[in-house]
């Protein structure tokens, strides 16, 4: 028997295309003897479609043509299972339904990675790979993430957050506040986007308004933090859950201070037509693996990565990005990607775990979380309303519960 694995990707997100690349790549690596992959593409409109045509990255070049070969899909709960329902082609044929055993969200950014898709899957009672609703939401909102890190005693740069309406009501006061409380140079970014979108490094007050306006075009809340001058960016992936996790080797993305377009960052790779090999995704970025670091520093970062992972209650695979201040020799937690581009497989391969084996581990973790839920979250089987005497003199609150 194969596990029916529904891979969700795309999404109403600025990182739509990145997600497509990560997902097509992952689907090409999944062990097809053990899993039957059901690709579920979330269009930019939010509609779900499915079809075998979704397996090949080449097909995405002509999106309208691709969509013509897909069929509308929906998820339905029946009994204790959730089914992928595929709309029939003909007027007289029935919709096809396939049970889903496990969901695999490979989505990036808002409206999907931020807990929304996870919440939907949770609602459907489907076991799914990766962070749960709360961890996804915390991971996506940079301001909340910083607060959680501070609470956990983990090193983050201080920051100031601003709301759009407050900023545009009195720009000068807001800019003065940023200059006073953060100082220059500073980094201005929207609170809830990944993949370097909308982020600007600001060195002087004249550039602040442009940077803030750009960030506000992506989110109604922005965040400013001091820019680390002697900066190295170090990333480290973590695999597991709050009860046990391990860190991968560290990587150092090169030209980290540049802001890359999607074409540069994600489409830089090959053009082979085969599914899953079409693009190298994040793996094609210039990077150094393992990062050239003293052993003590890399161990410190790896330990910190696990601490961050546990602090937000993450699950599955996440990539934690650190800022290394080489002058002060200090490490700051920058952000967490709860669904990292390419699932950070290149870091796990460098740590001795193959991509298919990584997916097996992720599936195990998802089923484990489902088991924990099943053993703790017992719905009360009896209908409390059927016991009419419970409404007597005692009232609803009167009954004692041990």
């Amino acid at each position: 028997m194969q596990t029916n694995l529904a891979v969700f990707f795309g999404g109403r997100s600025v990182e739509h295309e990145v997600s497509v690349i990560s997902a097509v790549q992952a689907m090409g690596q999944i062990n097809r003897d053990a899993y039957r992959v059901l690709p579920i593409y979330i269009k930019k409109s939010g509609e779900l479609v499915t079809g075998d045509v979704l397996f090949d990255i080449e097909n995405y070049r002509d999106l309208p043509a691709l969509l013509r070969q897909t069929r509308p899909a929906s998820l339905v709960r029946r009994g204790d299972r959730t089914f992928l329902r595929v709309a029939s082609r003909g007027r007289f044929s029935k919709d096809e339904e396939t049970p889903i055993d496990l969901a695999f969200p490979i989505v990036h950014g808002t409206n999907c990675e931020d807990g929304t898709l996870q919440g939907y899957l949770e609602f459907l009672g489907l076991p799914y790979i990766g962070c749960d609703v709360a961890a996804s939401a915390v991971g996506m909102d940079k301001a909340v993430f910083k607060a959680v890190m501070q609470q956990a005693g983990l090193p983050v740069l201080p920051c100031v957050t601003l709301r759009a309406r407050a900023y545009f009501a009195d720009r000068e006061a807001a800019q003065k506040r940023l200059a006073d409380e953060v100082g220059f140079p500073m980094v201005v970014k929207p609170v809830n986007l990944g993949s370097s979108v909308g982020i600007t490094k600001v060195s002087d007050p004249q550039a602040l308004d442009d940077a803030a306006s750009l960030a506000f075009s992506f989110s109604d809340r922005i965040l400013a933090e001091p820019a680390v001058s002697a900066l190295r960016e170090i990333n480290c992936a973590v695999l597991g859950d709050a009860d046990g996790c391990e860190a991968s080797v560290c990587e150092e993305p090169l030209n980290a201070d540049e802001i890359l377009s999607y074409e540069n960052k994600y489409l830089g790779g090959g053009k082979s037509g085969k599914a899953g090999q079409g693009s190298k995704g994040m793996a094609s970025l210039d990077r150094k693996i393992p990062a050239d670091l003293p052993k003590q520093t890399s161990e410190e970062i790896r330990a910190l990565a696990c601490a961050v992972f546990r602090a937000i209650g993450a699950s599955g695979v996440a990539r934690i990005d650190f800022l290394l201040d080489t002058r002060e020799n200090r490490v700051y937690v920058n952000e967490i990607n709860t669904i990292p581009g390419s699932l950070a497989f290149y870091l796990w391969e460098a740590s001795g775990l193959s991509y298919p084996a990584l997916i097996d581990r992720l599936a195990d973790l998802a089923f484990r979380r489902q088991r924990v839920r099943e053993t703790t979250l017992f719905a009360i089987e009896t209908n409390l309303l059927s016991n009419a005497s419970g409404f007597g003199a005692k009232g609803a609150k009167g009954s004692k519960r041990a």
Partner: protein, 522 residues
């Protein structure tokens, strides 16, 4: 005339359909084996059945006699009989603990019987002298049921064979799956639930639900519940006659087995205790032949004498056994004991009470440990086990007192164990509240008497609910030196509660034993 007869026949046929409900219910509960059904019929047979048959026959004779003069009497009589049937069938179904489940098979049996009855109705038009008596017989006897059973049998066999092969295929196509069989005269369902929970620490587990422990119940579980990701299948195996366990083994092919107990259950079909044991050990034979392990309750003498050789692994409360519980004690938090699994020992705490639970946990832990759950995970999972409601269920009660809720227990041995558990609450003021045991027939007085003696030995206060029912308990208590002032006999449970309200405090342990209202404490 013909129309009247046809109408009569039709009404009789409908009556027979209603009579079928009860018959089908019993056939279903006897796993669709007519022989077992007849066994039940023989036991249920009473003079009332003869009276009923004579009454039907008499009514029929009367109708036949009146037929030339007043043909309308016959359909009227039939309508009356139908009304009686409907009322009776509804009442029986409402009262039944295990109701008839309208499975596809039951529907097919109904359909076949309806077809036969319809044929008889049509038959009245040709030869009413034969059809009408047959129809009358059909609802005073299980004739149409048996005819329907025989008619559908070849089809049912084919269906069953298909399902069975499908289940075998599913299991064969799950190469990573490990199958654990559980059998025993008692304790197997409890052990299964505990084992499922312990294994869930590390594995995706599917267990046969409730007591789906027949071959077809197992087949159904495999076909409906097994998932590709399932790593362990826990299969409860019930036996009512020799060969039953082997039959299930042939379907699920277990590598691991658990035998929880051998006792005098279903002796009427087995004959001797030794044959019970042989049947349970069909599981052991199967697993051992495959090179697997069989975990056996070493506290059970019958099992211990048989479980010798390769593959047998014993558990229990005897320190000589490979896996055992020792240093067992009870508190307001539940039971605590030291769990020894081979070379490792861990102190465990559970909300479950009673020796049978300690034993079930020990057995389940031995299996889970052997299958790869680390002892620290077992310790956690054991602390999370939840008791079955009203079965030695530990609760907080009035003014911080401890309540042992055993209100659903109606078994004499279980009641004595509950009293022993209460007695083990060292340092607490121990209060028993019970109406005594009921519906035990000839054993009732003796069972209550024994309960009274046991209670007098451990309790500080005893509250008996119901003056009439309290007699045997009070008799027993009177023979001991239990202080009369500490024995309270009240009329209603509410009175017992009111009294408890005045005396219960944090140092009090209260045992509610048998047959108390569900909603006394929420």
């Amino acid at each position: 005339m013909e129309l009247t007869l046809f109408l009569t026949a039709l009404l009789c046929a409908v009556s027979a359909c209603f009579a079928l409900t009860r018959q089908l219910q019993m056939l279903q509960q006897n796993s669709y084996y007519p022989r077992r059904y007849f066994g039940w019929l023989r036991k249920a047979f009473s003079p009332l059945c003869v009276v009923s048959f004579l009454w039907h026959a008499g009514l029929a004779a009367l109708c036949a006699f009146l037929l030339p003069a007043a043909p309308f009497v016959a359909p009227l009589a039939a309508a009356f009989l139908l009304a009686v049937r409907v009322v009776r069938a509804r009442k029986l179904q409402r009262r039944s603990i295990k109701k008839l489940v309208f499975t596809a098979r039951v529907k097919r049996l109904y359909a076949a019987a309806a077809l036969l009855l319809a044929a008889l109705c049509v038959g009245t038009l040709f030869c009413w002298q034969l059809s009408i008596p047959l129809l009358l017989c059909s609802f005073a006897t299980p004739l149409p049921l048996l005819a329907a059973w025989a008619l559908t049998l070849p089809f049912e066999r084919a269906v069953a064979r298909h399902y069975r092969n499908d289940a075998r295929r599913i299991l064969r196509e799950s190469p990573g799956l490990r199958v654990v069989g559980i059998t025993g005269s008692y304790g197997k369902t409890g052990t299964k639930f505990i084992l499922a929970r312990l294994l869930q620490e590390r594995f995706n587990v599917v267990a046969t639900p409730e007591s789906y422990n027949t071959p077809m119940g197992v087949v159904r579980t495999v076909r409906e519940r097994l998932r590709p990701q399932t790593q362990i299948f826990l299969c409860e195996m019930g036996a009512k006659k020799p060969g039953d366990i082997r039959e299930i083994c042939e379907i699920v092919d277990p590598f691991f087995g658990v035998i929880t107990a051998v006792g005098p259950q279903h002796l009427e079909t087995f004959g001797t205790l030794s044959r019970v044991a042989e049947t349970k050990f069909e599981l052991a034979d199967w697993c051992r032949a495959r090179g697997g392990s069989v975990f056996c309750n070493g506290d059970n003498a019958e099992i211990r004498s048989r479980a010798t050789g390769d593959g047998f692994r014993l558990y229990g409360t005897d320190a000589q056994l490979e896996s055992h519980a020792q240093n067992i004690r009870y508190s307001a938090q539940g039971a605590a004991f030291d769990l020894v699994l081979g070379d490792e020992t861990v102190a465990v705490q559970t909300r479950l009470l009673g020796m049978h639970n300690v034993l079930n946990i020990t057995g389940a832990a031995a299996v889970a440990y052997a299958l790869g759950v680390p002892i620290t995970d077992l310790q956690y999972a054991i602390s999370q086990l939840t008791p079955t409601p009203h079965r030695l269920e530990l609760k907080r009660f009035l003014s911080g007192s401890t309540l042992i809720d055993d209100a659903y227990n109606a078994n004499p041995e279980g009641c004595l164990e509950a009293v022993r558990v209460l007695g083990a609450f060292a340092g607490k003021r121990k209060i028993l509240v019970t109406p005594g045991l009921v519906e035990l027939g000839a054993q009732e007085y003796e069972a209550n008497y024994q309960l009274g003696l046991a209670a007098a030995g451990v309790c500080d206060e005893i509250v008996l609910v119901g003056r009439h029912r309290a007699v045997p308990l009070a008799d027993a208590i009177a023979t001991t030196d239990f202080p009369a002032a500490s024995l309270h006999i009240v009329d209603r449970f509410a009175d017992a509660l009111a009294w408890l309200q005045t005396v219960a405090d944090a140092d009090t342990a209260v045992l509610f034993e048998n047959d108390l209202p569900d909603n006394y404490a929420g």
